[in-house]
Symmetry: C2
């Protein structure tokens, strides 16, 4: 990471950015292979829109025009609509869908990779600006269940295409939790969900305390916590353990049916990628079916770097609703771990594969002509910044881990040197190419 002069606002040095760019390109590639189109939404939403998600409104950065503040003595001038920076990409996407519904084809599959901002207190050491990579599919009025299987598998494929330890998607279903509450006679389902969502943070006893404080009885809480301990990739095991709780009811059955269908389909398409984990509640109240979190093997402390779920009425206007399912990757948190662990390194901090040496400033144009010929064939090429001694020009390449230095020959016979091996061969800029693995900076496990 670069020096951070504002805490919570990470910046990468060039080699860190190579890693981040690699991750972004890999994610985009998988999303596009699956037919998701890329869109972006504006960074700002009206405060009204942002505050509709009450839970997160505490983290919003609001905007004011500096000059407007100056004329209004430091207060927001009442006549302008107040805007804030978006804190996720789901709320803006829902707004985009509703606004452009007549122009979009449904089901509409989109990916969206953008920065988001949260006004965390500086002392909490959290990112206040970070990149998310989301995929969602929304239908017009209805959305088949199979998308609740498809989308977590796209994310599993995307994450497992990265040079990081295996990523598992953990799944649960809101209908299972709500169904269990129904069977148990727990009326305040939201309180149950909020409590269970804290299991990782405050442990079973802590959750039991929270549930009790919400008026949920001890036996009910015990049953919910017992269910929350169920974790398995096998639908039959999940089914039998839930059955062992002695609960039954139509909503629970419906939820179990969906959860097991998801496990079965995922198990056949991508074995091991998806595991049921009934502790997963997700804090957001708009989820109505499958919910997802994830974990990176050996990096469980990182928490869920990819989460989401099914929602039925997040995007809706007076006439229609657009049910959807989506997941969001916390790219900055993942990249930060990849760099700091470190899990990977960039083979070089620059795109350059070849530096063309310059014999004298009078001959710079000749070196430029070589560079032009190489670039025309897709080879990233730089020209030495000054006609220094060749040793210094080689050092320019070496410092940046650029593998090749090109020497225009005084008699027209050019040579190119692999500065790692020292091997130097005659070469023609119209035909020579570096080995494929040297063409662009790579990202390799360490």
């Amino acid at each position: 990471m670069a020096r951070t002069s504002l805490s919570g606002f990470p910046e990468w040095l060039p080699d860190g950015r190579v890693i981040e760019q690699y991750v972004l390109d890999a994610l985009r590639r998988v999303f596009e292979l699956h037919g998701f189109c890329g869109i972006e939404t504006r960074a700002v939403e009206t405060l009204e829109q942002l505050e509709a998600k009450g839970e997160t409104s505490k983290e919003v950065y609001v905007l004011d025009r500096l000059q407007a503040l100056k004329t209004a003595q430091g207060r927001h001038p009442g006549k302008e609509r107040r805007m804030g920076l978006h804190f996720d990409l789901t709320v803006p996407f829902a707004r985009y869908v509703v606004e452009n519904a007549n122009e979009l084809d449904f089901p509409f599959k989109r990916y969206q990779i953008q920065k988001v901002w949260r006004g965390e207190r500086p002392q909490e050491g959290r990112f206040r600006e970070f990149t998310q990579a989301d995929i969602d599919v929304v239908g017009n009025g209805e959305l088949p269940f199979h998308f609740e299987v498809d989308l977590p598998l796209v994310m599993a494929e995307a994450l497992n295409s990265l040079p990081i330890p295996p990523v598992r998607v953990l799944v649960n279903n809101r209908k299972v939790v709500q169904g269990a509450c129904e069977c148990l006679g727990v009326d305040d389902v939201d309180a149950a969900l909020r409590g269970l969502d804290k299991l990782d943070k405050i442990g079973a006893e802590g959750v039991a305390g929270e549930l009790a404080a919400s008026g949920i009885g001890a036996a009910q809480a015990r049953a919910l916590l017992e269910m929350a301990r169920i974790r398995s990739g096998s639908s039959s095991e999940v089914r039998s353990r839930v059955a062992g709780l002695g609960l039954s009811g139509p909503l629970l059955e419906e939820g179990m049916g969906e959860l097991c269908a998801l496990l079965d389909a995922a198990g056949s398409r991508m074995p091991g990628a998806v595991v049921a984990d009934l502790r997963i509640a997700r804090g957001l109240d708009y989820y109505t079916g499958s919910v997802y979190e994830s974990e990176v093997e050996g990096h469980e402390d990182l928490g869920s770097i990819c989460s989401g779920g099914r929602y039925d009425s997040l995007a809706s206007d007076s006439k229609r609703s657009y049910p959807g399912v989506g997941l969001s990757i916390g790219v900055s948190r993942l990249v930060s771990r990849m760099i700091s662990a470190p899990l990977v390194r960039a083979t070089r901090p620059v795109p350059t594969a070849v530096v063309v040496a310059v014999a004298s400033e009078e001959e710079r144009e000749r070196s430029e002509a070589v560079a032009r010929a190489l670039r025309a064939r897709g080879i990233p090429t730089d020209v030495a910044p000054s006609a220094a001694k060749f040793g210094k020009q080689i050092k320019f390449a070496d410092k940046r881990a650029i593998p090749f230095v090109w020497f225009p020959g005084s008699d027209g016979a050019d040579t190119v040197k692999d500065i790692r091996s020292g091997e130097q061969v005659e070469a023609d800029p119209a035909t020579w190419a570096p080995p494929a693995q040297d063409l662009a900076p790579g990202v390799v496990p360490v």
Copy 2:
């Protein structure tokens, strides 16, 4: 453009985003071919940093945490450092260079493609959020002149790689204007620059008025305006017309030497791409050498979509200065014109090249297996969202201009149909591929 529910904050529909993404990818490719590394800086800077560029401070969006505002009765709480959204990428880059100087290798060449924000008044119809694509090179203490030739040519190459009319880079040199002022005895060079910068907007008479108001005499103003009329791609013509003004002095000579060297080198490397235009002043006071604007043939009304210049002390701390040269493309303005003119169209709004039909929901997994085989070979593939009648599934592809529909055969003999020609052939998902031009959405001139 999508419906814009907040004026000045553009959003594209999926086909518009295909065009924007095409432009961004093309620019990135050229920048990387020339050895520029990609970095990003945080979206926010301290207000102090932003206000140091007094001229633009009027356009800054300042941030407040909503909860902090609520507890401080609507005013910024004094104890937190005030932050604002960056209004360009040059000021943040200068800060990044100074902060990370010990970690960077100089000369440092970077490209940076990010959103920027300007708190324009809503009624002015300008973008308040837009994307810029910048390249800069900075040296440690010194920076050779040849970069003032190299960088505008990289931009000319990048812009001319797009499916738009030819783009010309227009150049001048601050030393020429300052040198002329020196010869003419004009003391207030800034006033002269500010006046000349408005030539396009208010015309020669308007500028003459402004110059007079700044205490610049009529004869001096006439000479400056006469010089501002010089426009030519030929260094000898520029030289003789400047000589015709009867001015001479060391600074003017130095500037003319640089301007002509730039024209000569550009003329040999990329004929016609660079033209001297002595009316170019650039409003920003940090430029010290070459200054650049640009124009798109036939779209001169769009103004300069790529501008920049040489600066000597923008990035500096108490110990060192990092002189640089850079240019910035106003991507959103360009893309907006490409879409609205229209200059181009996207061949389809989705990445998908093939839709695999689904015969029945029970056989969905078979269609998924075909999709998996195609994706594994880099072919963007979607699976039909429902097992509707095949006619409806073909319509799903047709509405999105997806060229191929795949039919898993009941006897294992799959077929693929080009829905444009109607041609349907037997195909194996392990070997079939679409023609190269159908693999990804294209952007073609209209």
